[in-house]
Amino acid sequence: MQMPEPDQQIIARRESICAALAKLVPAGSVVSSKEGRRAYDADGLSAYRQLPMAVILPETVEQLAAVMKYCHAEGIKVVPRGAGTSLSGGALPLADAVLIGLGKFNRILEIDYANRCVVAQPGVTNLAITHAVQDHGFYYAPDPSSQIACSVGGNVAENSGGVHCLKYGLTTNNLLGIELVTIEGDVLRLGGKHLDSGDYDLMGVMTGSEGLLGIVSEVTLRILQKPATQRALLVGFDDTGAAATAVGDVIGAGIIPAGMEMMDGLAINAAEDFVHAGYPRDAAALIIVELDGPEVEVNALIDRVAGIMNKAGASSIKISTSEEERNLFWAGRKSAFPAVGRISPDYLCMDGTIPRRRLPDMMVLMATLSQKYGLRVANVFHAGDGNLHPLILFDANQPGELQRAEDFGADILRGCVEMGGVLTGEHGVGVEKRDLMPIQFTEDDMKQQQRLKCAFDANQLLNPGKVFPHLHRCAELGRLHVHKGKMPFPDLPRF
């Protein structure tokens, strides 16, 4: 992974930069020692590590804005970091960049039941939002698997999903407002407690922009009432294709489950060995369907779904009759990653999306690739929305295996795009999939995205080296071949 060439002149000024930054924040908020910085050298994609030039931990939006303003004026790159749980290297430091940690922005500012929203600082964890409102029966719907640790600011940056986003949407669909600090140190408030604004949806493009457009300093999140009842079905199939068809049949019948997950044989057995959830070990595919809502509705729909599954050729069906049983059904799925970790020294977790009907083709492709690379692959899918999480098993201590695993992963993602899907469903591009972007996007597609970046960050100081494989100067991106055109924006730089 080639990161942008560090600017040695900036690095040479490290001590004076740290001293200048220290004047902008309370004592102890600049981490400059090597040991101190070590704690920030990677995020959830731990295969990549880099010591940041300095770490700064502002406490207020004023301090954050002052730090951004200083970095902008001095031409210093900035890498934002929430809880550091990104699986795509979104918070990977750069050798010549200041890493801004939002960990001290850890307060819930307001719980507003009348408007059904929570205003929070970006460092608050995802699960803490639900904990703060659950006494009133409310919860925050997006539930990425890292929800105990990941921050809501990071959720905005990555547009995080979770197992329930088929019915309840991603972060972007549950976000009402943000406060944003630009690289120039301007503070903008976008959205609020109301629904749609009639302006350009700048909050919408900020969501999922992976820290390249600005730093979120406050969020307003929509909260929902917890469904009255949740029940789940555990369905085994002897054939993956039949299982994939069954998932489509449920949705085709007009039923949108709260969650619909699938696991393949290797994942089923790894999970069963680990948590003994009662999964059918001989099944080729396992589907967990969760329905939520009013009790009479859930009970009626559970029967309908069971009927559909039977008709589709299910080899086994279990229906949860208690909360304990429902949680047990989920226990295997939720521990699938650590369970696979037990059967292999290392694994790579991929994150492509395909049109769901192509799942059987994808299974064939993965089997072929598994043979080609001599590596096993275990599969867990968010089947309802076609989001795949193949886990490629390898041993980093065997020379060449990491490279082989990465090549295997790239081939899977290439297959996703060829089948009409995309490179990443919820983990983000970051550094991990940066160089694969040309598989999905043409040079012109990416240039237009980068022009948007230039509108927010003309000097490209925010999180450079992420998402886009080639950095173009904004002036170059803005060049337009017009000879006698008038210039309605004479005061603007052209990009």
Binding site: G169, K193, L195, D196, P355, G420, D444, A455, F495
Partner: protein, 401 residues
């Protein structure tokens, strides 16, 4: 007036306009031409020929369609598979005196969303991807044809509600949802706006899944055929399988007897659907005089905003989105709009748009909420990133961009 067949044609027209210093109006069926500012354009880029459903996979919940396709064509196609556009786009042809509901491109460009926006999301939440030509005259695409996708910036959000000022879109992929098997409405009577909003807050603090919530003052309700003895009528729509809807009605009936409001009755499916269509289409203010304004506000702020306006003006109004969407009819001219925006700012902020300008007030009052300075300059830079010469719908949203 160039009529284009595809994006390559569009690119050629745009580049030609660049060369000739022309500004283009992007136009589908023209049904929403009255929305936004009305600057003079040198020429019109007619996109209405880019029609047709390209791919529809009901069990994938995904529809790919060309942007010039009539909304009515799409809704008919979805109905065959018992599905719908869940954001429930409004038919503004009544209040805008236009001939049809227009194209899907127009719906997306104006982010037009109806009563179900409250619980299901807006048009912007359902656009999964698109391909387009920018005001630079260059083709690009964004997003994809799958439901879950975080690859690259989410330009779908930006395109929705941009009033054609950034790019000309062709193929759009939209998430569809199953149509509910049944629906009905439950009516509550409340003494005033404050208790109506409180009643709705109670309803949304229950797990009984209300799907839409409107507040109709007595006179508005009466004009819609609901002759009820209450100052404010709260209309709650419930959707789902029949068993579930009945069960939830029973729960809400008990709740109404406990709290601020009282249950007035229920509307069966057909009557309920027709009432919600009138709420959605702003038909309830079609006969009120003056201008029509659309306000997006914090739901709990609605009573204070209404009170402030009623104090100074003769106005008709009602609320959708649990109070978060206020429709006002009021006297034409700058005064009413200025007062509305002041009331909005005093009560949590939001967005006020002059939707229906019967007396051409928009010559004197901004159609869209004026932007704070930092947001205005960022907005100008975003416009320039897509359309540096201001070829597309220049000035349609804000003067000078």
């Amino acid at each position: 007036m160039p009529t284009i067949q595809n994006l390559d044609d569009a690119a050629a027209v745009i580049i030609d306009a660049q060369q000739n210093n022309h500004r283009l109006e992007v136009r589908g069926l023209g049904t929403k031409a009255a929305l936004g500012n009305q600057p003079d354009y040198d020429d019109c880029l007619d996109v209405s020929a880019m029609q047709g459903i390209i791919d529809y996979q009901p069990e994938e919940l995904v529809l790919t369609v060309r942007a010039g396709t009539a909304l009515s064509v799409i809704e008919a196609e979805l109905a065959k598979a018992n599905q719908m556009l869940a954001f429930e786009p409004a038919d503004l042809s009544g209040i805008l005196a236009s001939k049809s509901t227009g194209t899907i491109g127009g719906v997306l460009a104006t982010n037009l969303s109806g009563p179900r926006r409250l619980t299901a999301g807006a048009a912007r939440d359902f656009l999964l991807g698109f391909d387009a030509v920018s005001g630079r005259g260059e083709r690009f695409k964004s997003g994809g044809r799958v439901m879950k996708n975080v690859t690259g910036y989410d330009l779908s959000k930006l395109i929705c509600g941009s009033y054609g000022t950034l790019a000309v879109i062709d193929e759009v992929t939209i998430k569809t949802l199953p149509r509910p098997e049944t629906s009905l409405s439950l009516l509550f009577g409340c003494d005033d706006m404050t208790s109506a909003v409180a009643q709705i807050a109670d309803i949304f603090a229950s797990p009984h899944e209300p799907g839409a919530a409107a507040i109709l003052p007595q006179s508005i309700a009466a004009a819609a055929g609901l002759d009820m003895a209450a100052a404010m009528i709260v209309v709650i729509r419930l959707e789902g399988i029949a068993l579930s809807v009945e069960d939830r009605v029973a729960h809400f009936r008990q709740m109404g007897q406990r709290d601020t409001g009282r249950v007035l009755g229920t509307l069966p499916q057909a009557a309920s659907e027709s009432l919600w269509a009138r709420i959605r289409d702003v038909d309830l203010l079609a006969h009120a005089g003056g201008d029509i304004w659309k306000l997006s506000c914090a739901p709990a702020s609605a009573p204070a905003i209404v009170a402030a306006m009623e104090q100074s003006f003769e106005t008709a109004y009602y609320a959708d989105w649990a109070g978060g969407l206020l429709w006002f009819a009021g006297p034409s001219g700058t005064e009413f709009g200025t007062a509305l925006r002041a009331a909005l700012m005093a009560h949590g902020g939001g967005h006020a748009q002059l939707l229906c300008d019967r007396a051409m007030s928009k010559n004197s009052v901004p159609v869209f909420q004026p932007l704070p300075p930092a947001q205005a300059s960022l907005t100008r830079r975003v416009k320039a990133a897509f359309d540096p010469l201001g070829v597309l719908n220049f000035g349609r949203m804000h003067n000078g961009m």
